[in-house]
């Protein structure tokens, strides 16, 4: 089967490697900036490899209280958010997947979820509602609005439906209740898709910044992505006088910023190898017919 490589083949491989480098380079650039000497970075001389390696920017992060409190908010949010999401997904998907006769209201509940999936009041009504609930500046403002991932619920129900219903009976004969059936049969059988959903929820929670920006004003309670957003985006020069701008330019520190960004990327980079297994599952699960 081994053939000589043609010119066309070589070109394709070169193009692909170039694409891979383009995709990886932004992250690599953050890493090399964060460990290089500030002088080289600001002169634009750090391009491929770090120059004047030192870890002062990481030491400075260690002393940044706001960074740490934000990091901690994000960690708590990922743990609490993913736990709640998965628990609700599993519990809700099971009754919905049963044959019509076993739980007739499932039809109407399905319509309720579908209507909510397709239509949301939008940005402003959600904002006003959260204010009415008094959830501003609360940790729960980051967790509760997305507690039931409706799109994933549809996928989960479809997945549960592919598990033969006869398996239920083996437990009911022994006198088991629906919760036992769910956790002894359905959950173990759907470990791969649950893992897949967990990973995508993890990334979703870690990466979201907008809810933190909308609902939380106390900077110590904002998640890490919102903190990073504030770092670079919210600098509004029009509202500053010349001395403030000068002060800002002197303290703006690219190596420090790179280190902050890179640390925020670490959880994603750590979890990435595990997600890889589920890429195809994650993308094609939607196509499973119910």
């Amino acid at each position: 089967m081994k053939k000589k490589m043609t010119v066309g083949h070589m070109t394709i491989i070169v193009v692909l490697i170039l694409l891979a480098i383009i995709c990886l380079y932004p992250i690599w650039y953050m890493l090399i900036c964060s460990v290089s000497d500030k002088v080289y970075v600001e002169a634009g001389r750090v391009r491929l490899l770090p120059k004047g390696i030192n870890f002062t920017s990481y030491q400075r992060i260690l002393g940044d209280e706001l960074y740490f409190s934000s990091f901690w908010v994000s960690v708590r949010r990922v743990i609490a958010g993913c736990t709640l999401n998965l628990t609700l997904l599993i519990l809700t998907a099971y009754p919905m997947c049963l044959p019509q006769k076993k739980f007739p209201p499932a039809r109407y509940i399905k319509w309720f979820f579908m209507a909510n999936m397709l239509f949301n009041g939008g940005l402003i009504p959600s904002y006003v509602l959260m204010r009415q609930y008094g959830l501003f500046d609360s940790f729960w403002a980051l967790i509760l609005p997305g507690a039931v991932p409706l799109w994933n619920l549809v996928l989960m129900v479809n997945f549960f439906r592919n598990i033969p219903y006869e398996l239920n009976e083996s437990v009911t004969i022994d006198g088991g209740n629906p919760l036992q059936i769910l956790f002894q049969i359905y959950v173990p059988l759907s470990k791969p898709s649950l893992a897949c959903m967990f990973l995508f929820q993890f990334v979703g929670h870690w990466n979201s910044y907008f809810d933190g920006l909308m609902y939380i004003n106390d900077r110590a309670k904002q998640p890490l992505q919102t903190y990073i957003y504030q770092l670079s985006v919210q600098i509004d020069f029009s509202k500053m006088d010349a001395s403030q701008i000068m002060a800002l330019l002197q303290t703006s520190n690219k190596t420090l910023e790179s280190a902050k960004v890179f640390v925020a990327l670490i959880p994603i980079l750590c979890i990435y190898p595990f997600i890889q297994k589920y890429f195809t599952t994650g993308m094609t699960m939607g196509a499973v017919k119910g």
Partner: protein, 301 residues
Amino acid sequence: MGKKKKFRISDKMYYWLMVLPAIILVFLFNTRTWPGILAAFQDFIPVKGWYGSKWVGLRNFRVFFMQPNSFGIIRNTLVMAVGKIISVQCMAIAFALMINEVRNARLKKLIQTFTYLPHFVSWVIFATILKSFLGTDGMINMALNSLGLEKFSFLGTPSLFQPLMIITETIKEFGWAAIIYLSAITGIDPGLYEAAEVDGARRWQQTLHVTIPGIRYMIVIQAVLHLGSILNAGFDQIFNMYNTLVMSRADIIDTWVYRQGIVSMNYGVGTAVGLLKGVIALILTAAAYWAADKFADYKIF
């Protein structure tokens, strides 16, 4: 023992207890936003609520269409959304076809690992990185400077903004978007390639006559399904990258709604424009799914 049996919860009760938490949460945080759209027809003041605020008919909608840049905002939204869909999907198809030619499994895996990675990086972080390349004191400008050239404000030039958004979105998402085409390619019957080879088809002819027709179905489905998102120009990306200098080309419906509704606290106007966009998007999505089901027998639900 006998008493315990009497109080055994019925299966139906269990089912209700299992779905109830989700129903309550969805009701509280989603269904309850629905009445909020009434604010679209009101001069909405939060303390007065939806019952106390004054009704103003369609005035909030008029406010949007009467302002000088409303046409520009709609155009920006459509141009960037459609540009991104076309650019990302074409690149994804080309990438899937190319990577399918790589025979070395480890190289293939490595390229995939790197090209899928940016999808998982948030726009907040990706935008911060892009600014450190393209900003006035970014790497590219420093390099230009050291060559004795003038600095150039990439992110402050209105005519460059839309191409930049389309290109950066493509870099971030093409690999991920290719997965669906790759899985379609894997589904092609290997016998077809063997038959083509027997007929003397070269490698590129096999791509042209077997692979592409094999994934044509998926290309059509993707095109149809993306119809539902032609009003989504990518809020996160633009919100993280735009600035006052490029507003004329950068402002999209979503960013305008955010600034009007949340920043300037014109709740009524913000809700009205958000509602208009939501309704159009809903119709487009419904039409897209209907078309995908009817013409390609593709069902999601």
